[in-house]
Symmetry: C2
Subunit: 253 residues, 2 copies
């Protein structure tokens, strides 16, 4: 029988923000593979809590040391592809060394700004590992952001642009007026002073922080919260929605 | 003690695509309110299956007859707002007639193209009902689309525009090259012949259908599947991702 590779979305941080389908998937595999970010991986404890809560027996977790990644490359796309190749080689080795069905644990949803699906495709394309594979969706931090602020992510019938901090200004320059940002290692709100922001950090965890309001009024609170969370918790993951205020056209005189 | 209104995302259709947090929320309330689309509401059976699966005792479900809605208005935004007002009045009546904590069941995630959050805000703004309220996220059909096709919803580091069928062509005209469409009562792929599409209908249900490929090659399959699903199941809900093919620049001569 062909072995099964399962890419499992495990939510944004809270052990109960995982679906019944994901729990069944977690229980079905023989071992897990996770990307090891080093000894101080901030999500290690959260992952342990999630597995301990939903599995009677936690199978072996193989932590694969993440390949080094060029964080300041001239060619961002190329650097990411190289890094995916290195990850695929590392995962291939683990899959050849261990038998049985494997679960790849993905924070949030594998559909948004995560490399696992692409890396699994590369592993299979290399040809040494034979397997069927499937994907189980999970609650993403952008959904947690909306739920905690109790908002819909768009005005009635209007679009949403989902992008990264790196491309935020590009999205606005192209005319977007409702922008959801994930993966923002830095925060640059210049030019958004008049917009509304709904910001959240470490969503779903005990250290969750929320700020909302007009950017010019709350930007300092966001920046202070970022510094504070980082200092107290040791890591920060944030997401935010920026929406241009509707311009009220005065009635004709 | 103040009563609690809970807006609960219950996923895209499969009873196991609901989070542990959502199940806890379902179990915590005294009754449910749902929008009654009429006797032939296609999701009635799916909702019943979901509640029966996760609750030992299913509390009362109050189905509120959906107000009539102008489907061909001159002013779309205004028509929706009027319809939200009518819904808020109907929900207010139910909340005044029934005591205890209430759960509003929302297919998918309340954060995307759903009116429940706006209507609950309107109910509370009217002042007759006093309550605390919270929102529990759920797996959305766009996440199911990605999981079933085993794709990431964007190219590496690139943005996603999430929009409605109504505004699809507007998004492309504004330069978007990766567009995720929800709420498409009709399907008009004119001008997208050269793009790739990942399409899905009735995702998560037993009647799920998937089609993917270059639009010019698979558009007829999508249209045939839409007609077939509608005829066999009685209803169709679909979502799709359209991505412009990368133009390969020939090397300089």
């Amino acid at each position: 029988m062909t072995r099964l590779i399962r890419v499992i979305g495990i939510g944004a941080g809270h052990p109960d923000q995982v679906t019944v389908e994901a729990i069944d998937a977690l229980r079905s595999v023989d071992f897990f593979v996770t990307a090891d970010k080093g000894d101080d991986d901030p999500l290690l404890a959260a992952r342990h809590a999630l597995l301990a809560r939903h599995l009677d027996v936690v199978p072996r977790v193989v932590a694969v040391r993440d390949p080094e990644r060029d964080r300041t490359p001239g060619d961002y796309g190329r650097a990411v592809v190289d890094w995916h190749d290195a990850r695929a080689e590392a995962y291939e080795r683990v899959l050849l060394e261990h038998e049985g069905d494997v679960g790849f644990l993905v924070w949030g949803d594998p559909a948004f700004y995560d490399s696992t699906i692409r890396v699994v495709e590369k592993v299979l394309a290399r040809g040494a590992v034979e397997a069927e594979w499937d994907v189980v969706p999970g609650i993403s931090s952008l959904q947690m952001l909306a739920a905690r602020h109790r908002i819909v992510l768009h005005d009635i019938g209007q679009p949403i642009v989902v992008t990264t901090g790196r491309r935020l200004h590009e999205a606005r320059d192209a005319g977007a007026d409702n922008i959801l940002v994930m993966l923002s290692s830095t925060l640059d709100l210049e030019g958004f002073e008049d917009w509304d922001i709904w910001w959240g950090a470490n969503l779903g965890t005990a250290d969750e922080r929320l700020v909302s309001g007009r950017v010019v009024e709350v930007a300092v609170d966001v920046l202070a919260a970022r510094i504070d969370v980082k200092a107290r918790v040791g890591w920060i993951m944030d997401a935010y929605l920026l929406r241009k205020r509707a311009v009220l056209t005065p009635p004709p005189a």
